[in-house]
């Protein structure tokens, strides 16, 4: 699709828009979704973050898609291809491309996150020709950790670090990488 959308069997990943805001506030900024992501944020910070996502998408910055069900009007989650910028992360990781995702609780357990992440990785290694994509989580986030393993990410133990922006229970941050060659070998 020419508008920046990505399509999978069950999902459409669309560029973010201002109209996503009420849904983001209600379904993305919840205790459950934000549990391992430093918690619920101020609504105003969420709104500025969405505006920054929209700006970046159209200005060569990071891309954070809003994931919709293909056969309905419902949004189910978000997947982003960011520039890694956690201040506490090792210098070698700064600015590297990082994938991340959040899905509304009512849509957990259906494989949507994996399906959407695969579409973004195909785009990252295909259209964007990235040599490697990184991802970060913590052992406390078992679902995210399992998903990285399922997607073929390799744990980079030597790059793990303590991030003071997260509580002790969500530390240390674990760092994962997926090489383009490994992705194409699996695909």
């Amino acid at each position: 699709m020419g508008d920046g959308s990505l399509v999978t069997e069950r999902l459409i990943l669309r560029p973010p828009v201002a109209e996503d805001l009420p849904w983001v506030l209600e379904h993305m900024n919840t205790e459950g979704v934000m549990r391992h992501l430093a918690g619920v944020r101020d609504p105003e910070a969420v709104a500025e973050s969405l505006a920054a996502d929209v700006y970046a998408f159209h200005n060569g910055g990071h891309q954070r898609w809003t994931v919709w069900l293909r056969d309905g009007a419902a949004r189910v989650g978000r997947v982003g291809l960011f520039h890694l910028r956690s201040p506490a992360a090792p210098q070698d990781l700064q600015g590297q491309r990082e994938i991340g995702w959040t899905f509304a609780e009512m849509h957990w357990g259906k494989g949507y996150a994996t399906e959407a992440a695969r579409a973004v990785l195909t785009h990252a290694f295909g259209a964007l020709t990235l040599p490697v994509v990184w991802s970060q989580t913590s052992d406390s986030n078992a679902a995210s950790t399992r998903m990285m393993e399922r997607l073929g990410f390799v744990r980079r133990t030597e790059l793990g670090y303590v991030d003071p922006d997260y509580p002790p229970g969500d530390n240390p941050t674990t760092v994962w990488s997926l090489e383009a060659s490994a992705w194409s070998a699996r695909a």
């Binding site: 828009v17 201002a18 506030l25 105003e44 505006a51 920054a52 929209v54 970046a56």
Partner: protein
């Protein structure tokens, strides 16, 4: 007053009204403010979706905190002449996301009239006296000379310790700041 309904006026200045953003402001914003000259140092002309998202963020900011970005209207004509206000630092890479940030843009055919200075004096007064900001910052770049000259005219000081780089921007983003005490001292 020609344009502004009384209930959404936030601040007034001798020649200007600063009011909350309405749904119907998106078209004039696109036509009058989202132009190559105005947006030259602000990332260039933006798609409609970007401006709509900024308006939504401003509404949410007012709802959550009682301040945000506004539409600048010219009292004499009731026309939209700019966009400005106070918000938490919006740039996702800034090292000081909780600080209060002022920002402004004025349509090209209203430049060199002192509108931005007039508006921002009202905004800074409001930020310190009503909103209770301990200090206020402003973000710009070296190339945007008109922007940082106005920051200096407002009494703001360079804060090189807050400068940062955005990989998507051609040059570093620099910051200015003023404390409540500094603002009050220069007013008297």
């Amino acid at each position: 007053m020609v344009g502004a309904g009384m209930n959404d006026v936030v601040l007034t200045a001798p020649r200007l009204v600063l009011r909350r953003i309405r749904e119907e402001d998106l078209d004039p914003h696109m036509a009058l403010l989202n132009t190559p000259a105005v947006m030259r140092h602000l990332g260039g002309v933006q798609p409609r979706a970007v401006i709509a998202a900024k308006h939504a963020a401003a509404r949410e900011s007012f709802a959550a905190e009682g301040f945000g970005f506004m539409i600048m209207e010219e009292r004499a004509t009731g026309k939209v002449v700019g966009h400005c206000g106070l918000r938490r630092v919006a740039h996702p890479l800034a090292p000081n996301p909780c600080d209060h940030e002022i920002g402004w843009l004025v349509r090209e055919d209203r430049w060199r009239r002192g509108y931005a200075y007039e508006a921002m004096r009202a905004v800074v007064d409001w930020g310190f006296a009503v909103i209770g900001a301990p200090h206020i910052v402003a973000l710009t770049c070296e190339a945007n000379v008109g922007s940082w000259r106005l920051m200096e005219k407002l009494g703001m000081h360079r804060r090189a310790d807050l400068d940062f780089c955005d990989p998507a921007e051609p040059e570093p983003i620099i910051q200015y700041a003023i404390t409540k005490a500094q603002w009050e001292a220069q007013k008297s």
